[in-house]
Symmetry: C2
Subunit: 280 residues, 2 copies
């Protein structure tokens, strides 16, 4: 799904909701525990229940890898199912390695002929340009690069103040996460890159928008992690909306029993209703 198609879907559904598919066997309702593939059964029910209100789905790969080979089969079924729908798909993988290795990760999660044909993959920036570019070279696919995350540990390094000159001789931004935005923006463009910017620090979004006014931002942390949708929209919206707001636990585990899909749908609908006032 390209940028034009994504924006069209956002306007049609009046929603920029991304549902994070983080299946946890300890939280999946008992009524599904007899299924042959519990994780896929859960995901399919959640997808079907929320499809009217969400434009994107983001399986978090750790929650599949944790169940070994069986979990990877559930992931494969999930992406196959999503590909049949008109939704944007993100492999939340946080990968990144030297060039020849990132090329293999790109092949793993972006190759149309592979088992896991996602539209986009989340990538960690620490290893720099040659760790990110192989993902950007896959036609019609996206990198979602970590910039400012929503967890407490984000302060340890992302918010460090930097000084001196960049490797290419240009002046530097104030904080590491801003420099990550500045440097990486030249590796791709707003048609093949997005950034992860956590909602738990919405005021930082105005600094982010100064550096990358046109890129889509994938925003975790609204919902279970306490961020405010209104704040995120105030600082983060651009003319093309430019936001995907992710919610995982608050939707997946809204209900704990046979009503889980209905409760997930209600929570997705609640978020979409908040969002629709911002979609013009």
């Amino acid at each position: 799904m390209n940028r034009t198609e994504l924006i069209a879907e956002i306007r049609r559904k009046k929603s920029f909701l991304c549902v994070g598919l983080d299946p946890d066997m300890n939280k999946i309702p008992d009524c599904l525990q007899g299924e042959e593939d519990v994780i896929f059964a859960f995901n399919k029910a959640i997808i079907d229940a929320t499809l009217d209100y969400a434009v994107a789905y983001k399986p978090n790969l750790a929650f599949y890898e944790a169940y070994g080979l069986k979990g990877m089969v559930s992931l494969q079924k999930t992406i196959d199912y999503l590909r049949r729908l008109n939704v944007f798909t993100i492999a939340d993988a946080k990968r990144g390695d030297i060039g020849n290795t990132s090329l293999k990760y790109a092949q793993a999660y972006l190759d149309p002929a592979g088992d896991f044909n996602f539209d986009a993959i989340t990538v960690a920036p620490y290893m720099g340009e040659d760790s990110v570019k192989p993902f950007l070279q896959v036609p019609d696919k996206w990198v979602v690069l970590l910039a400012l995350t929503s967890n407490p540990g984000a302060r340890d390094f992302q918010n460090l103040e930097i000084t001196g000159g960049a490797a290419d001789g240009t002046a530097l931004e104030k904080h590491l996460y801003e420099q990550v935005l500045r440097t990486s923006a030249s590796w791709g463009n707003a048609d093949n890159m997005m950034y992860v910017v956590g909602a738990t620090r919405a005021e930082f979004l105005s600094d982010v928008r100064r550096i990358v006014p046109n890129h889509f931002l994938l925003v975790p942390g609204v919902g279970a992690q306490g961020g405010s949708l209104e704040e995120v929209c105030r600082y983060g919206l651009n003319d093309d909306i430019g936001l995907l707001i992710n919610a995982s636990r608050s939707i997946l585990y809204a209900g704990k029993d046979t009503d889980f899909a209905e409760a997930a749908r209600a929570e997705a609908a609640r978020m979409q209703q908040q969002m629709q006032t911002y979609v013009r």
Copy 2:
């Protein structure tokens, strides 16, 4: 395998060689292409051929994920095979995410009851403390944290100069990679953490040793990437050796035909012979 056992193996074999298992279907010799599981057949032959000269093996997960579910089966067979030998095993995964997600990655690659029971996993530091600690909480297992990598992109962010105070109020190191060492060293200890420090910039190893004198360093970049073993040993050795030198392509693809295992063994032996003078 714990630190004492690892050091004992290093002294017994007079080697601190780690063989990177990066199987690439385009490079695996034709004579194996008829095997039912080509990747595992290749890995097994390489392991058998190099076992006298190597103390550690490091499958690079991208090279398995790139082949989808089939690749993950090959990875599972490979780690099962390695577990039967007295070697240190590293999942080169470069993972790292918010706490509850890193916990799932730890379960995926360090859990003795899981499909992929490695001794250690490589982790990316960008998301900070809560992204790393869940791995450290698995008993008797290791984190190998990225500090200074061997690729060109390492300059983009790892070498940025930083200023101001750290989140905990202490004074800062000069470069980001040094601050990653300084901050993260308090999250674990030399019995459950190692660091990735690339050999292509061996002179930086003296700065690394100033900050983490006792930790083991996993050093890529000797061999195919051009680093010098002698330089790495000059700056990086400590009283417990404290180094694992990784070689991947230079061993795996030393031969291109039916002699591939023999050629791999010869290359591993050549490296071990260089190393033995440093093992006391």
